[in-house]
Every structure is written in structure tokens, then in C-alpha cells.
């Protein structure tokens, strides 16, 4: 404690105050900082239209956007469309995650399967996924099945690659610790491989989900009578830019929200990570 005695009193109080302030800063102000730019742009555009510098017909101001959303919500249309899209993404995501995880795990764990399976999967990955659309429509019809399968295909590849890569890169030295303690095959997977793979798996899930949202638009543009993608198409055909923008904004919100859900669900499992991002960065 000799150190603190030497410190001038003034410096000591200085050291304590910014600490509290910085805690408050990182809790509230830092996330708010991300909202500053979009809020400023929205406000600016609102003002431009309000002052009559633009009629805002092709790019409707935020007020008209929210009016459109409110109108859709009041008639019950909006929840119907959101439900349709979310259901498709959910089903496709689950399907893609299950198949990607299983095949990725097999390829990562078992060398023979990797040599057998991986070249084919990589070749399929090279095909632009939208090229499947006509085939899926022919095979599976124009209704839900083809849409869900298309989304699942989009989700599958990042999950497959993420799981396989994560298993392949598990530290041999850590696996050896499991051997020294004579873990059985199942215990080795549960106590060593799964936790070691988890961080990369969460990243793969988030990438996969992002692709799921991308592919649902493609799927719904093919031909749908409901869904946010349908709102986009409908807005284009009937010349309603506000409706298109409303759908885009809702896509953004849903995408961010579901991504955040994965992040929040995984964070208690990843508290141990010694990474720059885990401590909030600078």
C-alpha cells in the first residue's frame, strides 16, 4: 500500500470518477452510438421532404414509412406476412442446421468420410444456390416445400464448413489431456470436442441464419401469396415504395433480432473466451 500513500490525493479521486463514468458510458452510450447515424439520416430526409425540397414519392420519408407499417399492422396483414416468412426461415434454418451439423461432424471426425464426402459438398457449394430454384420448383412444387428447401440449402453450407473446420482445428494437445484421463469416445466428444467447437459453431449459426434471411427473399420472390418477400414484389408491381421500404425495415429488424437471440443464447456458454471481442473491444 506504499504506492497509494505516494499518490497525490487529487490523482486518486481522478482515478475513481472516470471508472464509474466509463461503466455508464459502455452500458448505455456505446450501443446508442450505433443508432446515431441512421437516426440522423432519417431525420434529415424527413426534414427535406417537410420543407418541400423533394416530394418523397420514390423515397418516402420515415413518417410515411411508419404510417404504412402501422396501417399494415392494423389490418392484421403485417403479422400474417411476418409469420409466413419467419416460419419459412425457421423451418429452413432448422433443416439446414441439422443436416449441416451432422454431415460437418462426420466429415470433421472421420477422415475417410471427409475424403468421400467433402469434394462433392464443395462442388455443390460452388453452384450459385439460386440456380437450384427452377429445379426445386419442378421437383417440389411452387408451394412451401421448395421454399424451405432452398433456405435450408443456403443455411447448410456455412454450418457444414464451420463444424468441419472447427473439429479439424481442435488442439491435439487438449485432446491428449482427455486421453490421459482415459475418457471414453462419448465422454471425449462431450467434455472436450463439443466445448472446443462451440465458439466456431455459434459463428457458423449466425452466418447460416444470415444466409437464411437472404434466401427467404429469393424464395418468396419466386412466387408467394404471403410473406415479406411478397410485400416487396407487391410494392414494386403496384408502385408502392413505402411498402417496399416497410418490408425492408422489417427484414432488417427481424434479422438483427434473431442474430441477437443466438448471441444472447450462446453468451453464457462462451464466457470463458479470451478474445478481444469478448471484452467489448475499444
Amino acid at each position: 500500500m506504499a504506492m497509494t500513500v505516494d499518490l497525490p490525493a487529487l490523482e486518486q479521486t481522478d482515478a475513481a470518477v472516470p471508472h464509474v463514468a466509463s461503466a455508464r458510458w459502455s452500458r448505455y452510450a456505446r450501443p446508442a452510438l450505433g443508432l446515431a447515424l441512421p437516426a440522423a439520416l432519417a431525420l434529415g430526409w424527413e426534414l427535406v421532404v417537410f420543407l418541400g425540397w423533394s416530394n418523397g414519392r420514390l423515397v418516402p420519408p420515415p413518417s410515411r414509412l411508419f404510417a404504412t407499417i402501422a396501417e399494415l399492422a392494423k389490418s392484421g396483414e403485417l403479422s400474417r406476412h411476418i409469420l409466413a416468412t419467419v416460419t419459412r426461415v425457421g423451418a429452413g434454418f432448422v433443416l439446414g442446421v441439422i443436416s449441416g451439423t451432422i454431415l460437418g461432424a462426420i466429415s470433421g471426425y472421420w477422415g475417410l468420410a471427409r475424403r468421400l464426402l467433402d469434394p462433392t459438398v464443395q462442388a455443390l457449394r460452388a453452384i450459385p444456390s439460386l440456380a437450384w430454384v427452377p429445379l426445386f420448383v419442378l421437383w417440389l412444387g411452387i408451394f412451401e416445400t421448395s421454399k424451405i428447401v432452398l433456405i435450408a440449402v443456403g443455411v447448410f453450407f456455412p454450418i457444414y464448413l464451420g463444424v468441419m473446420g472447427a473439429i479439424l482445428s481442435v488442439d491435439r494437445k487438449i485432446v491428449e489431456v482427455g486421453r490421459v484421463f482415459r475418457l471414453s469416445g462419448a465422454a471425449m466428444i462431450r467434455r472436450i470436442l463439443l466445448p472446443a467447437v462451440l465458439p466456431a459453431y455459434v459463428v457458423a449459426l449466425r452466418v447460416g441464419l444470415g444466409l437464411g434471411w437472404m434466401f427467404v427473399v429469393a424464395a418468396e420472390l419466386i412466387g408467394a401469396s404471403e410473406g415479406l418477400g411478397y410485400l416487396l414484389l407487391d410494392g414494386q408491381q403496384l408502385g408502392k415504395p413505402a411498402q417496399i421500404l416497410a418490408a425492408i425495415v422489417i427484414f432488417a429488424i427481424l434479422g438483427k433480432l434473431t442474430d441477437w437471440l443466438i448471441e444472447v443464447a450462446a453468451s453464457p456458454l462462451l464466457r470463458w473466451q479470451d478474445a478481444f471481442g469478448a471484452r467489448g473491444g475499444y
Partner: protein, 261 residues
């Protein structure tokens, strides 16, 4: 009793790492294996641990042949190899999963207190210093109460002060249950500090070259003349094992002695 009978190891790529290594190691003995790089000392240790199988000869513990990791044989590696997703306490208890939770908790707490890290029980491995992490690794290896503890250059990544600290610490822990310790090292000082017996190996292929018994009472004074004598003996054996001409080294040391006497 740990017995090594003409243990040999040739790797699939044809490298002849170890040839006909024999030794009998009594319970509670501390043996240091020392030698230049490529003399097969890590290969030997991994064969005793059951991590790699010897291609000829056999390792037996109380007449049971070791072919895979054994419950009574623990190992501490050069790196702590803690599992980063487990707390320090859970790392220490990693090998105790069959025990009921309350017994396990007591054993973990006792082991952590013994290595002086009771206050770190809930910390993550990333929050530890190098020396602390290696102490956790020591606790993890000792808590299942092995009869034989293998150490593969356990302190070589640490600074000199921490290393000495941990050497003393290891001896204290050893005194609790007196397991057999087999220590691979390239640090002569460490070998003479810890071991009852130093096995000097020679490379290409790895073989036992010389055996030096260190009959010094513990605790050993690293600055004593006797300690220095043993160090010199080990060093000389090492030099001869590497076919290095010993002449200029003795010339230097006798010059040094001439200054003293």
C-alpha cells in the same frame, strides 16, 4: 515398481527414436531423464504414459503392461494444457468425474489450497499467469493420487525465479504421498535439485548413456559445493554423451578452480 524392459520405438517414418532402454524405478523414487535434443526422452515418457506404444520391449507397472493411459499414471506437460472452458476448480477436478460431487469438491479445494491457489478456484484459466497455470496443472495431475507422475519439461517455459519456486513446491507436494516422479528435463540444475537418480541419454538412436545417483539430503542447497560437484558430473556425462570434446570445458573449469584455490 515401474519397469522398463528394453523399450524401443521406431516411428512409421523410419526414425529410430529409442533403442533398448531398460530401467527399474522404485516406488517413491525421483528420476530425472536428461539428454540432448533428439535423444528420445520425450518418446520414452510418452511410452510410459501409454500415449504412444513402444515398438519393442515393454513398460510394466506392478507387472501390468502399459499400452494405454493408466489410472495410476499421471502426466504434466510442458504447457499447462488447461481446458479454457472450465474454471480452475473444474480443471483440477477433471479426472474425478466418477466421484460424488461433495467428495470431489473437498478434494479439489484441498488440492488448490495445497498449490496456494484457493482464491483462484472460480477464475478462468486465461486469468492465470504462466506459473499459476502450471500449478493448476500440477494439482490436476496429483488430485487423482497417481502412483507415478511423469513430467515432460514441466517448468521450461517459465522464468528462472518461478521455475525454482515451482521445483521447491513440487518437492513439497511429492512429500505428501510420495509418488514415483519421472522428470524429463534439459536443465542440469533442475535434475540435480529434484532427482535421486539422473539418467543421461545419448541421441541417434536414443539410448541410456550413464546413470548418476544423487545421494544428497533434501532440502538441497543449490549453492553448496556438493551440489556443484553433482552438476559437474552430470554436465560431463552429457558432454560425453554428445561426443563433444570435453577438453576445453575442463580447461575452463580448472582455470576457474585455480582461481579459487
Amino acid at each position: 515398481m515401474l519397469a522398463l524392459k528394453e523399450v524401443g520405438k521406431t516411428y512409421p517414418n523410419g526414425v529410430h527414436a529409442l533403442e533398448r532402454f531398460s530401467a527399474a524405478i522404485k516406488p517413491g523414487e525421483i528420476v530425472a531423464i536428461i539428454g540432448g535434443s533428439g535423444c528420445g526422452k520425450s518418446t520414452l515418457l510418452r511410452a510410459i504414459a501409454g500415449l504412444d506404444r513402444a515398438t519393442s520391449g515393454a513398460v510394466t507397472l506392478d507387472n501390468a503392461t502399459i499400452t494405454s493411459p493408466h489410472a495410476k499414471i499421471g502426466i504434466i506437460f510442458q504447457e499447462p494444457r488447461l481446458l479454457p472452458w472450465l474454471s480452475v476448480a473444474d480443471n483440477v477436478g477433471f479426472g474425478l468425474s466418477e466421484l460424488p460431487a461433495d467428495v470431489r469438491r473437498k478434494r479439489i479445494a484441498a488440492a488448490l489450497a495445497r498449490v496456494g491457489l484457493a482464491d483462484k478456484a472460480e477464475a478462468w484459466p486465461r486469468e492465470l499467469s504462466g506459473g499459476q497455470a502450471q500449478r493448476v496443472a500440477i494439482a490436476r495431475a496429483l488430485v487423482p493420487q497417481p502412483e507415478v507422475l511423469l513430467l515432460d519439461e514441466p517448468f521450461s517455459a517459465l522464468d528462472a525465479f518461478t521455475r525454482r519456486d515451482l521445483q521447491d513446491h513440487l518437492l513439497n507436494l511429492w512429500a505428501d504421498t510420495r509418488p514415483t516422479l519421472i522428470l524429463v528435463t534439459h536443465d542440469v540444475d533442475e535434475a540435480v535439485t529434484l532427482a535421486d537418480r539422473v539418467l543421461v541419454m545419448r541421441p541417434r538412436p536414443g539410448r541410456l548413456f550413464e546413470e548418476i545417483t544423487i545421494n544428497l539430503a533434501r532440502p538441497r542447497d543449490r549453492k553448496s559445493e556438493l551440489f556443484d560437484n553433482f552438476k559437474r558430473r552430470v554436465l560431463t556425462a552429457l558432454d560425453r554423451s554428445l561426443d563433444r570434446s570435453v577438453r576445453d570445458l575442463t580447461a575452463k573449469s580448472s582455470a576457474g578452480e585455480a582461481m579459487w584455490w
